[in-house]
Symmetry: C3
Subunit: 353 residues, 3 copies
């Protein structure tokens, strides 16, 4: 959210007057739509769903100027599910069993307090892990809806991949923009006592991301590792790049998910093609697996029609093919038969505030 000098002047005036109501910005997204997925040999589902285009959320954030180039800021953001008004959950420990929320509002998408200056930003709290960002930034559909390739997070035992998007109890450092270079380092704690023995380090997370952006070109590599003595340490690694030719923005992404017993490797190519006020999206990804998983492929085609900067209509088509009878990948609706294929479409509205 850019603010011009006019808004800043108004904010300063109010700040000078001692009113802090202006120091908090409320923001959010509601994304609702209709979804239908058909699976060969395992039924179908038609439903009113959410988050086909972007993740629905509500949040509160603000920035305080401390003087001398230093700023303090906070960010509280929680997931919501617009079709029913429920909210989300968070992990308190980065381990199985540490779930909190029960469907009530928690700031599980991001809950951070930061100090920043020209040397970068120090950020404490619950935040995205470094290896998440490439999956979102270099995939045409981000990580939302049936157009997103969920290969990039799977398969790993679900208890081990609690941190595949975010980690709690983290301390992060973000590089300032240095001639095109950007980066993030993170350490997070599982908050176990020493009496937990071999499990003392469970839920501890470390990660790193480095990127370079210049004009139309952007590239980044990242890795994140979460310790878990029972389930096996979980490592996420990926490299993504994009080039904006103007008539098309091309993207490529490679990612791995590894635990002691499982490893998957995914390659994705895709594009954003501007068409008037809209955007066509294309993505194809293929996964090769070692361990319990099978190989699979995913194809997606979509169109996003912007009614304004804040509001868009969208429609997606996607198909997934499982190559044999191992782990069954699906379009997020749990209706795909092992070894089978699944096709779906969704359309909806996304409104930001």
């Amino acid at each position: 959210m850019k603010k011009t000098s006019l808004a800043l002047a108004a904010a300063s005036l109010l700040a000078a007057a001692g009113a802090n109501a202006q120091s908090v910005e409320i923001f959010g997204i509601l994304d609702s739509g209709f979804l239908r997925v058909n699976s060969d040999g395992n039924g179908s589902i038609s439903k009113v769903g959410s988050d086909g285009n972007l993740s629905s959320r509500i949040g509160f954030r603000g920035v305080e100027d401390l003087g001398g180039g230093m700023k303090a800021s906070f960010w509280l953001e929680g997931a919501i599910n617009p079709p029913d008004g429920s909210a989300g959950t968070t992990s308190t420990t980065n381990q199985p069993g540490g779930t909190a929320g029960g469907g009530g509002l928690v700031f599980g998408r991001r809950s951070t307090v930061s100090l920043s200056n020209s040397l970068g930003e120090l950020r404490v709290g619950r935040d995205y892990v470094p290896a998440f960002w490439n999956l979102s930034n270099f995939s045409p559909f981000g990580t939302n809806g049936i157009g997103a390739s969920n290969f990039l997070f799977y398969p790993v035992p679900s208890g081990a991949r609690i941190t595949h998007v975010r980690a709690s109890n983290s301390v992060g450092y973000f590089l300032p923009k240095l001639g095109g270079f950007y980066g993030q380092a993170m350490l997070a704690s599982g908050n176990n006592p020493s009496t937990a023995g071999a499990k003392s380090d469970d839920g501890n997370v470390s990660g790193l991301r480095l990127g370079y952006e210049q004009g139309p070109f952007n590239i980044a590599a990242a890795t994140t590792r979460t310790q878990n003595v029972t389930l096996g340490n979980y490592t996420q690694r990926n490299v993504g790049a994009s080039y904006d030719f103007g008539v098309v923005k091309a993207m490529a992404l490679w990612g791995e998910n590894i635990t002691g017993t499982q490893k998957t490797s995914t390659k994705l190519i895709g594009a954003h093609i501007p068409v008037g006020v809209g955007q066509v999206r294309l993505a194809y990804s293929s996964l090769s697996a070692t361990g319990v998983a099978n190989d699979a492929s995913h194809l997606a085609l979509g169109y996003v029609h912007n009614l304004s900067k804040r509001t868009a209509l969208y429609g997606h088509y996607a198909r997934i093919d499982n190559k044999n009878n191992g782990k069954t990948f699906d379009l997020g609706q749990a209706v795909t038969r092992a070894g089978g294929s699944s096709t779906g479409y969704e359309f909806g509205i996304r409104h930001s505030f």
Copy 2:
């Protein structure tokens, strides 16, 4: 919430400046009071309660002008219980077992995103079912406190009447005001997969409401049907009307609740009588039942004293009489003996923001 040109000008200025904080309105109600209910032969309760006058809530909403007469808007509203600060729950499936929230804040009162223009409003999300509105608009006490006649929702197995006020996963259409006519149509999904077999359609909801308002006169009819193969389909039907004579606004309401095994029919008459800055409220309703329920009657008298447009004090007296030993209707406090009567009073404060 009316906004004059001054506020709109200020909002436009900020919007032009790129600040979106002004695009969100925070609103709500806190209603707390003291309640005492006596039951013949089954004890009594005295407590600090809530929602005697209006339902307590907190919410966030906003409207975006898309140009060309089109608007996008959102509405997130959740229940709160001011005496203890707890929040609410919502249903994710319009069926038993789909409850979310656990007492934390959920936007279970309303969670919608809309597109509207001169042809009407298309609304997606969790919203009031069509058959709810008449029960609120043509009843002197609305659906709040001991003055409200809860006959109008009962008796139906509680699992079947999950949608007696709202439905999740809904798509609604609202007529624009057409020479006094108004209306709402709703379809909602239980979001079951085809593999659910006979239960595939459980939680699917359809409803319709049509009304006409001209000067002091207002009339509306509505019906809502929720599918449930185990508990029986649930149908709510009602017709209400009001006429504002100036010295008194008279109201009449007829409503039915039907499942496969149960049916109740309720008639209500009542009035609002303006008295200075306050309002006297009167209501009498009688219920005739088929199936497990008994006949019953409900009488209520109340006064609301407005301290301002936003804040009021209120006091209510109510009495319920059960005609025999079937289903026991009570004043919402579960202390009425089967076949017995129950009397109560409550007084409190309602503050809107």
Copy 3:
């Protein structure tokens, strides 16, 4: 939050324009840091924790001028845990088993609606009990972090001390400032029906606080009693005083916690010492116990460095010594061995908005 005439003028302007968005203030605190506690003979814990300096929260509040010196106001404030974004719980009954929230946002810190004028304030809802305030105001570390002496709430069976900080379903009265005198009276209900028999009065709370503040001197005494027929009635009593010499603000506090079977008595002395933009904090408390508890002592040293009025960095050191093998007091991390000692430090950032 002081508002000068400029902000008030702006608020009036908007209020006159019918915009109510300005009638709600969003406020809060995020306090996150690193904590390490070592226990002799029972392990240690290192973690990213919260609330070392002040309790993290988010809230909404507002005041309406009703004219004639009368005001209506509301306050909704809930706990948050910034390291993971989870929220809190509340008690609906002031008794065991009445917990709501499940980690989602509840306004369990304070949920009140008030009417006030020159005769004082009448406040309804969930609020601090009278005996809480002295423990916060006359203790150098308040009730937060390892610097706070948790002796002042313990030991009492946890089910009995649900109201040691706040009570739900309360009606409170606050004296206006009368030549230095201040005070609070509270009655709260457990909301049990008469059919609960001997437990009908469980969760009922009564309390009183009286204080006097003049120039650098401040003194207050308070008591709160919660009824519970099974666990024994719980009484909290305390007296605190402070004197601000300028170079040092000295504090003294005496407090008791009593149930039928347990009684502890705590004496605390401490000081705030201004040092530039910062503040050194010192506290020593000793506890003598009757019943199951042992005697114990607690020493704390801290420094708070203010980066602005809204943001501070802090560091604390604390040590606790248990005198024998009864109830084990710890630094809030459950790693202290019965009869043993425990030392810890924490540092963090606290940001208000």
